[in-house]
Homo-oligomer: 256 residues x 8
């Protein structure tokens, strides 16, 4: 993309159809839209494969509303994470087709249609019931980006037979997201049983010396199973984004 | 249990009374009950000696209610820890015989009858008055599982004669749970005076550099007395569970 | 694999060609080889896609030697990481075809032949010269498993034009491993420029408040770019293992 | 100042116009005003270049009110940071000309007039929208002290082209304040592109393992770009104070 | 013991066979032997069930030698942990019957004879080969105190079938010691499969963010399996001491 | 005290005026009063020089009320720290002469009369206005125990002349308590200027990387001035208790 | 610079003197020199004001030697920090004019001539004798870049009069670097006495709870004096680099 | 002292016997001696009660030698801590009367004669044998300053009767230094039994989660016994310095 743009622009300079100063301006002016408090990055879909996502925490309802409106105008999928119901009501005023997922705390606008011909899917596995909020953030994210998701909840290692009963569904997934708090052992156990990449999400579930997810985070980073990589504590979105990149690549590259 | 089950199942396969695919299914389908958000582990009593326990924090009242109902149906003892009064009211609607212990923040259904012929008991020793909430979680847990408990509260090392006055009762216990915040020194002192296992519970009582129980936790892990093992900060339940395992073993093995 | 094995075994039981006790034994005896101090997991390639790897740190030369010998006998690729030259000399005595990569501190036996028809490759990008040891561990691992590797070293953000000059090669890779110490900013910058999964490896390069890689680790976990997942400090092997899983999946699934 | 004062005082002693005990008293009595709970440091402007600033957190409204009144009486610029609206209403009662900046949470009285002949200015650059509160504290501080400020917000490295589009304005500034949470990579990237001092402010924006700004703090301290120094988490005021010292020096020394 | 002693002593006072001052002296002089740099605690076996143990780290060879000699004189079992070969040579000079276990780094003198009529034993389970040093410290300790030990090494969760193959031996043990570094997940997995107390020992095996065993320690303290208690990092001795207390109690109480 | 008691008791045994079993009881029964949830330590004044103090945090109003009542009955000084106004109202119901110090959050009953003949006093020095709450806890504690206190507030090192103006009063104190948050530098500066013991109290005043007082705590522990010892964060009471011990000793020993 | 280059290049494209593909190549190929293991950034002097510096730790002698040779060829000042004597001997072989400063552990080639007409200088102030190594790294760096340096060593707050005796020299400096270990209080004290920017360098000098410089680092970040910014632990180079940027700006801007 | 000096100096100015400029010089020139790398603080004894002490770690033998020589010339007591045998040999060359205490790692020159008429003494109590090095640093320090010391070693809480047997000697001391590693519980136990100030020294003795003394440090800071203050890890010198200040005050004030 970048090289093509350069070539086109330079051709215009050569042809004299583009003035030197204008060319310099173009080379500097890149495709974002300035709201003052935010610079909307319309370029992101081309560059990163997925459009910009609104992280609502630390933004006012008004800011979220304005960013959502600008992004929705493009027709692309819009995803807002960590959104409160109040955020949702604000967005709804300006984008009536916005949908809210309260357990996931996500707002979705124009979700990608699932690729029905694709056989790819990702499995989201949680250790306990309390991890489901993070899991739903991951699931809604992945689905908004057009992926199929298999939810496998409450199969932690304290009752490991619950995990083994679901092993087939897990093993056939293209990517596996494992979400666990407390000691986070589930990531290592799953990682030892599959031949697909495992993305581990530590959660802040636990008490005392879990130190708000630090125990699970360290546990997952030190996994004795080799195929495990880790994202931030409670970052269901990030795990799903990573998984979506892998599945998109599977779909794109295999069509070649 | 596991081997017997395997033998029975394989005999049926041999006899032709069990179809191959059914057998495969059985080998995979283990005894848990799927509520969607939770997979109730009915198998736990056989495997771990005690039935599944509901940890209420991070669960909605509705989830706690549903899990309690399913577990209560089995007739086993049901224990719910970290339960608020609101949790209790929810459970009471579906299990009228549920009892609430507010200081311990526990709900108990069908407590095990104490083994009256047993002379075994566990001592629960606290350093201060502020540790009593954690101590009661331990005491209610142990009693729900059918054990006798001796409560010895507020005998911290700042007035060590209070401890010595209770030493006989402590020394005769089968297991001793020591619960302390601040510097947690009581665990080492008790550990140096007895010939029974000491399970230490650091509490988040303290301020400033206690860092919510970290000081007591490190103190107990580094005890210069050898017979001390440690559970998580404020984890009265875990200590009582461990102690109950030891006493159950004493009762079971001695009947042989 | 698991299901097929079960089916075969149960068929033998049904046929009477396998005795009940033998069958029980088989169901328990899984494919590992017991050296006493180690249980070689011959099953791993089937289960995880890649054979067992020897992590030499904390093992005696003698132990490494014996494990390498047993693994090499299978004809599979053998990889030993964190291997000293002394470890290598020990292995060489029993496996003459072993090759040593001193910068990577790896021993390789029977490397997988590169898949010449594959157009897939992974890019390994380092911030500085001091990160090259970790990068070579990643590169040798990936190559031992049959992957093509593009090395792009010393392109940290202090001179960000060095990165941009290599952007094409990075963007066309299937997976990108970013290796950086100090503040680890390179992972976020690369993550913001590509549409492929980025696996970030913090290194212990740095001094003072880098706290042996903690600064880079936290930095990468908190990346504002969404497509970044993280492995342990200095864990070049782990990053390459993850990347290899993704590329293997690309190769396998696309042949379908 | 100090030496001149000493000389004047000693001359008076020599002349006999100043009594020994009075002289001793003067040598001890330095210019502060004692409110009991606070000792107002009227001397600070001479000593530090800028007058004393009121840090409102941990002070009662009444205390803030009284200190503001005493400082305002001198005619100097008065700045109160971390001020709530309640603090402002209290100050307004006794200093009617006080102005409140809610986003910056600052109260300003008698701001310094901007030096219109000066071409110096400082750039304040933020990674995201959520960093703007800290950035405004810096901007209002710098402006209250008579400096020109260029605000450049939401140009984080996830969309690095937004930064490059503003590079000219950043490069021409005399001092650059970079404000970022999460992984704080922006400080290193800016530091690598400019030849002016960069003062980095980590913010507590982020979640999970950002540990309330620790990740960004460590990242900035370990910057691979050499010209970066760091102030406390969320300390927009401190960064602006430092930048103002540098610009004041530029203005003062160049007039010589 | 204490009460009997008091009674005997007071009787002598009553009888006049013991002088008041002597009695006071006796009440103060408790059974330890003062070497100046150490006070040998001959009383410990009565009080704690096992005699004093020599922790060699931080002691000179000469100190270890002298303490060992004094303790050996009593005929009780003597155990010295963290002993170097140099420590051993020193002890051997004064106690020719001392035996050294290099892998465990322990010196043993007069080991307790195993109780051949006892069916009790403890299982020592390690995740990896590198944990064996700690495991042997535990095994030698337990055996020195007269217990039977079942060693089950290298069965970590990366190849969980290795664990299941040994499950029977583990489940029948009276106490289970689980020793693991890295993420320490093995403790939770074993804890979920057995109905006996599990004593977990985190080891300093691992690299990067294992932070010398901190990751495994936090993991074990936060185990989602209830019957797990924890001792200090690498503290094989402490785990075995705890386990021995439980087994001793099983043997003693069952004879009543 | 202890030896005299023993001698008296043993004499009674010898005389036959005390029965053996009674004597044993006395030797065990030490002077505390059991309220069930608390064991009031009446013995503390003899043993520690000051009576027991009620730490209200973590106690119910009812518990505080009952302990205060029992302690007040003895006529000794009663001090309750970290007391809310609600705690005070509860205590007032049962001890009408109780007095409340809201800034210090202390309740005092029967304060010791100041020793008017004593020339000893302690200086309490704070860095800022926000440290005054902790300082008043220290001051009220010291005064309740009968000491004279010199309050010197808001003399932090940012305006060090304010400190030098008060140096005489500080240097003549018998003990100096230095209370500071943020970087806590005041303790080192004072410690370098006086020849009396300095007890440093870090406070949780500060933001960002002060980590609730950790920065000041570490600073004070590492003071380059030799005569500084440290108590817990925000522990004004503890500092005053220590200082009172020293002054009491000065008063007691000098009368000999 | 960047804009001029673009303009020239685009003019050539317009003129037809530069081919499109060549132009694209130039736009991408930025001025660095690729040694394979390192990419020498010749562009840095233009971009950052000072040429690239060699950080020797983590580089082999051979790598340092090659980088030094390439950089020296340009005639610019070359600075290598954290250089061992062995590094120096390596560099000397290829750059005979290289000079070594053992206390600073720096190699300097072609130092900038001091600007004799400049009245600007920076003061380097240390708390103790043990901080001198870090201070000399700062001093040699600043001098290599052509600045005048005033060294003021061993004036820590334990004997604060030593500081006051040097106050004039400190106050007249343009920038002040304060270097201290232990509790780092000197930075706050100096910051409170001057009206120039203070750059604080925590050192790893200290023991116990200094945690290798963490105590001083936190102390300096939390300075109650406003004009203090901080660089990494022991990072004398970074502080001098920052200070040199400020002085360079003073010199450059004042000539306008 | 300060005021007298000022008065004398001003009198000379008044009399005309002192020139204005000389007077200014004197007011600035304070009594230290500049060795370049160190500024010897001869003023310290007047200001702090004890002369300057040489902390050898981080100084070259040559620096220690020169400082020792200058300090010894004054005839005051000279103390050098953390001195290696090499340091000692260096000092001995220039100060033949220097004495070395290898266990304490201290060099002493001109020790103060013990005050034979004084009945004051300090008790130094250690938990274990491994704490003796730190204890001897404290003891040698206190004795060098003219104090009597009672050593009570190896009385940790694992065998608490060893402590009680020494209680009389401890209770009669004027100040008690408690030195302990591991969990540091001894400080709290002693603090609960005495009415004298307790200065606690955490040591780095312990392993695993003692984190080089952090566990003991936190434990002591959080002591439930009120009369305990704390110095840095392994800082025997600091504790003795504090204790000496208290005893000096007892001796000085009681003579008035």
């Amino acid at each position: 993309m970048y090289e093509d743009n350069l070539r086109a622009l330079l051709s215009q300079v050569k042809d004299g159809t583009l003035d030197l100063d204008e060319a310099i301006g173009h080379l500097k002016t890149l495709p974002f839209e300035n709201l003052g408090f935010a610079k909307i990055d319309h370029h992101r879909k081309l560059r990163n494969g997925f459009p910009e996502v609104i992280y609502c925490e630390g933004k006012t309802v008004h800011q979220t509303q304005k960013i959502a409106k600008v992004l929705a105008r493009t027709g692309n999928t819009v995803l807002a994470t960590r959104a409160s119901e109040q955020d949702y009501r604000g967005v709804l005023e300006v984008v009536p087709e916005a949908v809210y997922y309260p357990e996931a705390r996500c707002i979705v606008i124009h979700p990608s249609s699932p690729n029905t011909s694709s056989t790819h899917y990702l499995a989201i596995v949680t250790a306990g019931t309390s991890d489901i909020g993070v899991a739903e953030e991951a699931a809604v994210t992945a689905e908004a980006f057009g992926n199929s998701v298999e939810r496998i909840y409450d199969v932690g290692v304290a009752g490991i037979h619950r995990l083994f009963a679901q092993l087939d569904k897990i093993r056939k997934a293209d990517v596996i997201i494992v979400i666990a708090g407390m000691e986070g052992a589930l990531a290592s156990v799953v990682g030892g049983l599959v031949d697909r990449p495992v993305i581990a999400v530590p959660t802040s579930v636990g008490y005392g010396s879990s130190f708000n997810g630090l125990a699970a985070l360290l546990s997952m980073l030190n996994s004795c199973s080799s195929g495990v990589s880790v994202v931030n504590i409670d970052n269901g979105f990030g795990a799903a984004y990573n998984a979506s990149l892998i599945i998109k690549e599977l779909e794109n590259r295999c069509q070649l």
